[in-house]
């Protein structure tokens, strides 16, 4: 497998504790924040809602619930700015500033919860994969009976430069994470749990290791934790180590078949923040309405990790991090610098899959695209073993038959090819086009 080694840029925020900010005045909650069918609105303009109230429900199996992230009044349900899709139908809530919560800590014995009950709680809480792809978590937790899952992998690689939100969660909430892992392991009935963390986060490896040690002494409901088949594995710092398929190959030596899913080879991968939100949902009845976001880059006097309400406009978060608007900010990216989306407006809201908001300066200017010189760097960088330049050439010449013969569907869109290309060719873009044709 091929990897690249981009600079890490993590020092700005890796040592900053997760901060809780004041409530946003207004939140924009798009109905599509997850992989699958958009949620269905349950409220109408003018309704008052409380924090954590279900405002749109999952439509079908591969879909997710959506909850109000502040208490207040719904001012509009309309097409609105979306950080990934450009624009999408969204529920807009004006905060009343009180943050009245609708949920409360359930009085139940966690140990007696059945697997189905846990999956239901996860589904009700609208939890999706918080690593970026936002795949509904309840779907992951209910694999078809025919698929035997033997390994649960917890993804703490956080290989994208700049980002340190997962790192901070691992450092600050290790006990909670272990409790969450315990729940997921129990539901899946796995024999083994592996927590994979890149070696640039030794403190997180240490924190989870010692939390694990303590929890083992206290006894656990799931067999995997109880019998000690859980381990924290130090991963090499390289990109895209945290890609689901790459992580599985590194840890288990197995390859997810082309166009298949991890469960086809007996494993499930969960991001650390996803596990944390599962913990919160089960233990406190708290739906997913906030997440940790790394705000970093240039022109910020106080870059930090913030616990942000879903729907908070990027502008609010940037201002709280001391964003200096001097006209020199070149690009604002939501997500990591390798796979994130450049924003045209700072009104774009944080959605469930948003891991970071980055301000980039002109040193990262987009250079003019030149002819492909067949240097083969993209081939040597591609973690999926593809030949990006050939797909690119096919697409550029409108020969989609040629492009298709190089299997663009197996591209994981990690951006490694574009990163190394000396001719500045937007290879990921071209491959995405090949996928659509």
């Amino acid at each position: 497998m091929n990897f690249i080694h981009p600079p890490e840029f993590k020092d700005q925020t890796r040592h900053k504790r997760i901060e809780r900010l004041g409530l946003p005045k207004k939140v924009i909650l798009p109905l599509s924040q997850h992989t699958g069918v958009p949620s269905q609105t349950l409220v109408k303009s003018g309704d008052t809602v409380k924090t954590g109230q279900l405002i749109a429900s999952a439509k079908g199996f591969i879909s997710a619930n959506l909850h109000a992230s502040v208490s207040g009044k719904i001012v509009a349900i309309e097409k609105s700015i979306h950080p990934v899709l450009g624009s999408f139908e969204a529920i807009i809530i004006e905060s009343d500033g009180h943050d009245n919560k609708v949920f409360q800590e359930p009085k139940r014995d966690i140990n007696t919860l059945s697997n189905e009950e846990i999956v239901d709680i996860v589904k009700e809480a609208g939890i999706v994969g918080l690593g970026g792809a936002a795949f509904p978590t309840h779907v992951k937790l209910s694999p078809p009976a025919a698929k035997k899952i033997d390994t649960l992998i917890i993804n703490g690689a956080e290989c994208e430069p700049f980002l340190s939100c997962d790192h901070r969660v691992m450092l600050e909430k290790p006990k909670e994470l272990i409790a969450g892992i315990d729940l997921v392991a129990k539901v899946l009935g796995v024999k083994e749990v592996i927590i994979g963390i890149e070696e640039n986060k030794l403190d997180a490896i240490e924190a989870l290791g010692s939390a694990l040690f303590r929890v083992k002494g206290e006894g656990c409901p799931s067999t995997s934790l109880g019998t000690g088949r859980v381990k924290v594995v130090k991963l090499k710092t390289r990109y895209p180590q945290g890609g689901e398929k790459q992580l599985i190959k590194t840890l288990l030596g197995r390859e997810v078949p082309s166009e298949g899913l991890p469960l086809d080879i007996g494993c499930v991968v969960c991001n650390v923040q996803t596990v944390f939100s599962i913990y919160e949902a089960v233990y406190f009845g708290k739906p997913l309405y906030e997440r940790v976001v790394t705000v970093a880059g240039s022109f910020l006097t106080k870059p930090k990790n913030v616990m942000a309400r879903i729907g908070t406009p990027a502008k609010d978060l940037l201002e709280s991090c001391g964003f200096i608007e001097n006209g020199n900010a070149y690009k604002v990216v939501m997500g990591g610098p390798m796979t994130g989306v450049a924003q045209y407006s700072l009104d774009a809201p944080v959605i469930k899959g948003t891991s970071g908001i980055l301000v980039l300066d002109k040193t990262l200017k987009v250079e003019e695209e030149n002819e492909c010189i067949r240097c083969s760097r993209c081939i040597e960088a591609c973690p999926a073993g593809l030949m990006p330049c050939m797909i690119g050439i096919g697409v550029k010449n409108n020969r989609f038959d040629i492009a298709k013969s190089y299997e663009p569907l197996d591209c994981i869109e990690c951006g490694s090819c574009g990163y190394v290309c000396p001719s500045n060719i937007q290879l990921v873009q071209l491959i995405k086009l090949a996928k659509l044709k």
């Binding site: 070149y330 990262l364 010189i373 067949r374 073993g385 593809l386 030949m387 190394v420 990921v428």
Partner: protein, 314 residues
Amino acid sequence: MPDSIFTVSPAPHIKSGLSSRKIMYLVALSLLPAGIAGVYIFGLSSLKVIALSILACIASEAVFLKLRNKDPMVALDGSAILTGLLLAYNLPPEIPFWIPVIGGVVSIIIGKQIFGGLGHNIFNPALVGRVFLQISWPVYMTTWKNPRWAVDAVSTATPLAREGAASFSYMDLFLGNHGGCMGEVCILALLLGAAVLLFTKIISFHIPASFIGAVMLFGWIFGGEGFFKGDFIFHLLTGGLVLGAFFMATDYVTRPLTKKGKVIFGIGCGLLTILIRLRGGYPEGVSYAILFMNAVVPMIDRYTKTRKYGFVQG
């Protein structure tokens, strides 16, 4: 806060920082030691050939770009300079001034621009120019100058033309103390540049190793009277093998894309070089071997695709 002042572009938003232009100039830089050695060994006439060849390449590229309604300044992207440099290194150190000029024009126009410019040519442009000159003016192209300090100014044969072979020690051949093309004689200087290219990962070892390995292997097997008696060190140190294997066969545009393809390409180049050297009409075969293998690159590429993730169970 004014909106829409931000640049919107697809991911990734960070770049490795290595541009095509930087690569071209780095390769040109790595060719410098061999050029300095050439000028030192054969005198200032070599410098003139280098200058004329590079100027001809840049000028013809700029003119042709203009004719194609493209920015003529692209001629300074480093690729034309590199072609000019490589062409000059493949010429005898003292030839009429118009030979490198014609060579440069042919290299750029016939070798490169006709196909669509940088990235689209099938054959190594510098070798197209060199072979064109070789066929058109064989006498000029094989009138070799001896090193400055030699008794006879003009020798008629390179060590590869067999009758001359006996009189050279391996050390003479390694340092370039004999007649030949100006950029190919000093192996030491070439290896210095090659080390830079390998170290900076501009080229990988696949092509040079398989090319040189094949030449030495087949030279050893077939090069002597009877099998396994050939002087493979002689085959390594003479002709344009080192220049060709490290600097010409590794040209991105005209070599295969994958590691497997590169090895096949290198072995093919080596086999053909020995075939031409031992059985062909020319004493030297590196240029023709590379050009021939350039032609089969699309086929090699087709049959040496990479192994994709997820197509074989781990």
